[in-house]
Amino acid sequence: METKNIMIVGVGGQGSLLASKLLGHLLMSQGYDVKVSEVHGMSQRGGSVVTYVRYGDRVYSPIIDKGEADYIVSFEILETARWLPYLKKGGQIVTNTQQIDPMPVIIGAAEYPDNLVDKLKNSGANVDALDCLSLAEQAGSAKAVNIVLLGRLSHYFDLPEDAWMKSLEANVPPKFLEMNKKAFELGKNF
């Protein structure tokens, strides 16, 4: 199988590490060769962060380049726009609609672009946009945005629900499992 590429993008501190950990576990359980790449250090301090997840028969490069991503999973809509050039033609975006102002916008040196969901759609991308924060809060915790996103992503994968649940069980603490399962379902059935 040709290598498939998933990018997880967001703002440092939003919790993308759990999402990539869960995906890595899931894809490994399906027998794929897997590589996951993250960046630690300074960019984690509220900067733009990206995690690459690649899987297939034999994965070489640990990173994903422009025009290569089969999926972009995004925690924040400006970050979706920033990483759009990495999406493959015909690739799928799953994005949270939440907006977090970056410092240049906060201090008035730049403007946050408006109507980003429409603009992303007009660019030719397949965009599935949802308010993950509300759904996560509905599930019981604002921190479950990552699991809502993965639930939505699962919609595009031909993998048994059982495999997703096993990876969820292996990667979240038991006391939060039910809440996370609910978040997953809310994302999936949105």
């Binding site: 490994m28 794929y32 996951v36 690459y52 726009a81 033609k89």
Partner: protein, 585 residues
């Protein structure tokens, strides 16, 4: 698809730690630095290995040397610039050799994701005349770590294991095995271990002979691997560049993958070159392999095709070799940058606001507080290397005298101060410049992800440890003026700063409050904007807090970020930023 039974998806740095465990390593001493930190953090999870954070890389490497001398396999890790600090022991350890195996991780940061320069550590291996292995994924990271101990003991030399951001911080599949612990008796050997001129003169020829033996080893070492494909193109490559080459070309070209980048083989390269029509070297940063190939008299294409700057990727290789890359989409709107910022509630914020307000010239250092250089604070005017703030302040003040002494300060973190700020402080105390040094003490090594240090009172495992008293230390060095301020209290900061700048004596201000991200730090409820009072003057925004923005002409607080530190409210002229009572949460 294969069977992943028994395999684990593992971070490159964690795979090195696993290799250390399996190789029977007993002693690890390191100083944290991205992208090397997790090697030591992961190793510390094995009860069988003694692990510690040392005050700096030089001390760490000397400690690891001592453990090797005593007969146990030992280890230290650092980032590329950390190896500069530890270069002194390294270059002479090359002469003494080792007793039990000694392996040193150096992690480069091509692309400068979290570093102040982009140096290529392979130069150190060449200059120190020690072997260097370079893994290209997690499985190799584990395997090469164990091999490094065999090489270290067989050739009587410390061995460098070079990681880079993309190998250190990517996860791939590894297979684990058991731990075995070798033991080497300690024997007194003055001629080998006391490097005074008479002895060192006898050791240098041994180093040169060792390099010849290592070149011989490199000719057939399994880590230097030929993968023959079509012979029109032959590519010599190493580290993560190998992965990009394979991503682009698969098995369609011939590849010589170099796993040991110092010393490099000669016949292996000549034989490979003879089998291919056109020879390339694909390596990040400096042309180390390329220059070696050229010195062998071969024609090769390298840095005339590929950059010496930044990290590589598959598209960069494709473009260079004229291959197509995927089409990409875009939108017309400019996308504002999202640079890293000081966190909401960061104790450094109030201090930098005060320095800016007083129009200070700030010489900075390495840590989260380097972000004091970015807008809107924009207070720091120099950052060089660990400890340089104090060293440079002394020189600055000596030549500028009173005109700079009453407005120029050094700002350095607690961990960086213990690393190499103390010696700079000794210079100020000894050679007497009227310098004002601010130690921003957030009670942790912050930037690299919360490591303990000699001022925190805890060790790498979180157990109670020795604790150095910063005030007592500064006084013992001869500073009569040592002040402590709370950076959340802007009036206090302002008053103390003005006093210490005005006085004609060297002084230290300790700006003390724990990092807001530390688990034990209790947060207040988020502040609330009283929109009836707010006049939209943006005074609160001068501190550059990510939790504050303007919505409809009024200040707005992001409840998910604000920790109620109250620094912004001290700037509000109308008292519109109000505390909420705890029950509200």
């Amino acid at each position: 698809m294969g069977n992943n039974e028994g395999k684990e998806l593992m971070l490159g740095n964690k795979a090195v730690a696993r290799g250390l465990f399996e190789a029977g390593v007993c002693f690890i001493s390191s100083y944290p630095g991205t992208p090397s930190t997790e090697v030591t953090e992961e190793a510390a999870k094995y009860d069988e290995i003694y692990c510690e954070w040392a005050p700096n890389e030089k001390v760490a490497m000397e400690a690891a040397f001592g453990a090797s001398l005593a007969g146990r396999r030992s280890f230290c890790a650092q980032k590329h610039v950390g190896l500069n600090v530890a270069a002194d022991p390294l270059y002479t350890m090359s002469y003494t050799g080792v007793n039990a195996g000694l392996v040193i991780v150096v992690a480069d940061d091509a692309g400068m994701h979290s570093s102040q320069n982009e140096q290529d550590s392979r130069h150190h291996a060449i200059a120190a005349k020690v072997p260097m292995l370079e893994p290209s994924d997690s499985a190799e990271a584990l395997e090469y770590t164990k091999l490094a101990y065999e090489i270290s003991e067989k050739f009587d030399t410390p061995v460098l294991l070079k990681m880079c951001t993309r190998v250190a911080h990517s996860q791939s599949l590894v297979q684990k095995s058991e731990r075995t612990v070798p033991d080497f008796p300690y024997e007194k050997n003055i001629a080998k271990y006391v490097m005074m001129p008479g002895n060192a003169k006898k050791r240098h020829p041994i180093v040169e002979a060792r390099t010849k033996a290592l070149i011989e080893y490199a000719e057939t070492a399994p880590v230097n691997r030929v993968e023959m494909g079509d012979t029109k193109i032959g590519i010599i490559t190493c580290s993560t560049s190998y992965q990009y080459v394979k991503e682009v070309f698969g098995d369609t070209v011939s590849v010589l993958k170099i796993g040991m980048t110092n010393p490099l083989p000669e016949n292996l390269i000549k034989d490979f070159a003879a089998k291919v029509d056109k020879l390339y070297v694909v390596e990040e940063l400096d042309p180390i392999i390329e220059n070696h190939v050229k010195a062998l008299g071969l024609t090769v294409t390298g840095k005339d095709l590929l950059p010496m700057i930044d990290e590589f990727s598959q598209n960069l290789i494709s473009d260079a070799f004229g291959k197509e890359t995927g089409e990409s989409l875009s939108i017309d709107d400019p996308i504002p940058n999202r640079p890293p910022v000081m966190c909401a509630g960061c104790p450094h914020r109030g201090l930098f606001y005060t320095l800016k307000k007083n129009n200070c010239t700030v010489l900075g250092d390495i840590g989260c507080y380097t972000l004091g250089a970015v807008p809107p604070l924009g207070a720091i005017e120099m950052t060089l290397c660990m400890g340089a703030s104090i060293g440079a302040l002394h020189g600055f003040n000596k030549v500028r005298g009173a005109e700079s002494e009453n407005k120029t300060v050094a700002v350095i973190g607690d961990s960086t101060f213990m690393h190499s700020g103390m010696t700079g402080l000794a210079n100020v105390a000894y050679n007497q410049s009227n310098s004002t040094i601010v130690i921003v003490d957030n009670s942790i090594t912050g930037m690299t992800g919360h490591q303990q240090n000699p001022t925190t009172g805890y060790n790498i495992k979180g157990d109670p440890a020795g604790k150095i008293d910063l005030e007592a230390l500064c006084r013992a060095m001869g500073f009569e003026r040592v002040r402590v301020v709370d950076p959340y209290n802007l009036d206090e900061c302002d008053k103390v700063l003005k006093e210490e700048l005005a006085v004609s004596a060297p002084s230290v201000i300790i700006s003390r409050r724990p990092c807001a991200l530390l688990k034990y730090v209790k947060h207040n409820p988020p502040l609330k904007v009283n929109t009836d009072k707010c006049v939209g003057c943006k005074s609160c925004m001068r501190v550059g807090c990510p939790a504050i923005s303007m919505k409809n002409g009024k200040a707005a607080i992001d409840n998910t970020l604000c920790v109620g530190c109250n620094v912004c409210s001290q700037l509000c002229p109308v008292g519109a930023l109000e505390e909420q009572v705890k029950e509200v949460q």
